[in-house]
């Protein structure tokens, strides 16, 4: 160990370190030796003292007024750093505000995009709905105005005697509609349900509610020699018609 220290002291690394002329590795080595070995530390301290002594030998009286100039420069430097510091703070605040604003606008943008998608979907849905309704109205118009359209008047039987309905069938255009204009009162747990027998299959056309719009035409699925039924079913409708409860039928 002593040899290692001696070898280090014999080298000129410590003298170079004193003058700040060491490489990065040498600096680390010098600092390590100074910290670890008291003899190196003593030598280094001695070198520092000697350097001060040597430098003092060349001391030269500073010119008059130089102190004031230097103090002024230092103060100016301080002011510049303070200014820089202030600018730094201002810049940081600005960045924070900018970041906050960016986040706010990004968020807004996301919300607006979401809203936009929603509105677009709604418009699409409305368009689709409107198209269907228009198509329906067009078909109704065709059926009602077409000379080939036959009009069938339906009267209810049994409990549904007061049921009045008119069916419009157009075999040319293959369209059929029904207008239920009067629905008799039924017990609370019963309802009217419409069916159509198309090519031997019974199709559920849904429950007839208390009609708010008595002039509304309901489309019927068209088929040659189809039969339409109106039955009384338990509330909420049934999966298959109850034959004994048929209150009206129509062949078309």
């Amino acid at each position: 160990m002593k040899e290692k220290v001696q070898r280090f002291l014999d080298s000129d690394i410590l003298e170079k370190y004193l003058l700040d002329e060491t490489s990065k590795d040498e600096t680390l080595q010098a600092e390590r030796y100074i910290t670890m070995y008291p003899e190196v530390r003593d030598t280094y301290n001695q070198l520092q003292d000697n350097l001060e002594t040597f430098a003092k030998m060349y001391a030269r009286k500073t010119p008059e007024g130089l102190k004031e100039i230097i103090l002024h420069s230092a103060k100016k430097e301080k002011a510049v750093s303070r200014k820089f510091f202030s600018y730094g703070i201002a810049a940081s605040v600005a960045i924070l505000i900018l970041a906050g604003a960016s986040y706010f606008f990004w968020n807004q943008n996301q919300n607006l995009q979401m809203e936009n998608t929603l509105v677009t979907n709604q418009i699409k849905y409305l368009e689709e709905n409107m198209k269907n309704q228009l198509e329906d109205v067009r078909n109704q118009f065709i059926v009602l105005n077409n000379p080939a359209t036959k009009r069938y008047r339906l009267n209810g039987k049994k409990e549904g005697k007061e049921l009045k309905a008119v069916a419009y069938i157009n075999p040319v255009k293959k369209l059929s509609y029904i207008n239920v204009s009067n629905v008799p009162e039924l017990p609370e747990n019963k309802c009217f349900q419409m069916w159509a027998e198309v090519n031997g299959e019974l199709v559920n056309l849904g429950v007839i509610k208390q009609f708010e719009d008595k002039d509304k035409l309901l489309a019927l699925p068209y088929a040659d020699n189809a039969i339409g039924y109106i039955t009384i079913e338990p509330e909420g409708g049934n999966t298959s018609p109850t034959v004994k409860n048929i209150v009206a039928n129509i062949n078309y």
Binding site: D12, N45, E52, T53, A55, Y58, P63, S73, E77
Partner: protein, 188 residues
């Protein structure tokens, strides 16, 4: 300089207190100006160097690490490097090479020396020229030991040993004069 003042200056520097610069100037100004002058060999340039050095010292104040170097060593390094850089930039402008003028060693002159430094001036005379030339080349001319060896035409090994011995002799001389001074003070 007492360690107490040194510590005081260091703490002021750490706090970035303006007083630190004033105290540094009062306590080290002449020595650092002498270092700057010794390197650039021009009064006006030395003033510029000292001013730049103090601004650097002020800027780097919070990077000073007392565990790595004494305050003076740190101040010396900054001033010396600033002076050498200044000289190099001037020489580069003039497209000249830095050359050591050995005769400068003898041309120190006494006009700028304050009476309180007379004792150290005497001490300077006590250092043998062969050591002083090497110390000056390394400390003030910014030469590496190899460059000093080439310029002074002295073998590298001799440069190394003269640097070591020169510094050691310096310590001895200074130590002796300090002891004498103390003895005189005690007797009077």
């Amino acid at each position: 300089m007492s360690t107490l003042i040194e510590r005081h200056i260091v703490s002021l520097l750490a706090e970035k207190d303006d007083k630190a610069i004033s105290l540094l100037y009062d306590n080290y100004g002449d020595t650092l100006f002498g270092v700057a002058y010794k390197v650039v060999k021009d009064e006006d340039l030395a003033q510029d160097v000292l001013q730049e050095s103090f601004v650097k010292i002020w800027k780097k104040a919070d990077s000073y690490d007392a565990s790595k170097a004494k305050l003076f060593t740190w101040l010396f390094r900054i001033t010396r490097n600033t002076a050498i850089d200044k000289l190099r930039s001037i020489n580069n402008k003039a497209d000249k090479e830095v050359q050591i003028d050995v005769s400068d060693v003898y041309n120190l002159g006494v006009s700028g020396i304050r009476p309180e430094f007379m004792d150290v001036q005497e001490n300077l005379d006590k250092i043998e020229d062969k050591y002083r030339i090497v110390l000056e080349a390394l400390f003030f001319q910014g030469m590496t030991q190899q460059e000093a060896s080439d310029e002074l035409e002295i073998p590298l090994g001799t440069i190394k040993s003269r640097l070591k011995i020169g510094l050691r002799e310096l310590g001895k001389i200074y130590g002796t004069s300090m002891a004498l001074l103390l003895l005189i003070n005690l007797l009077s």
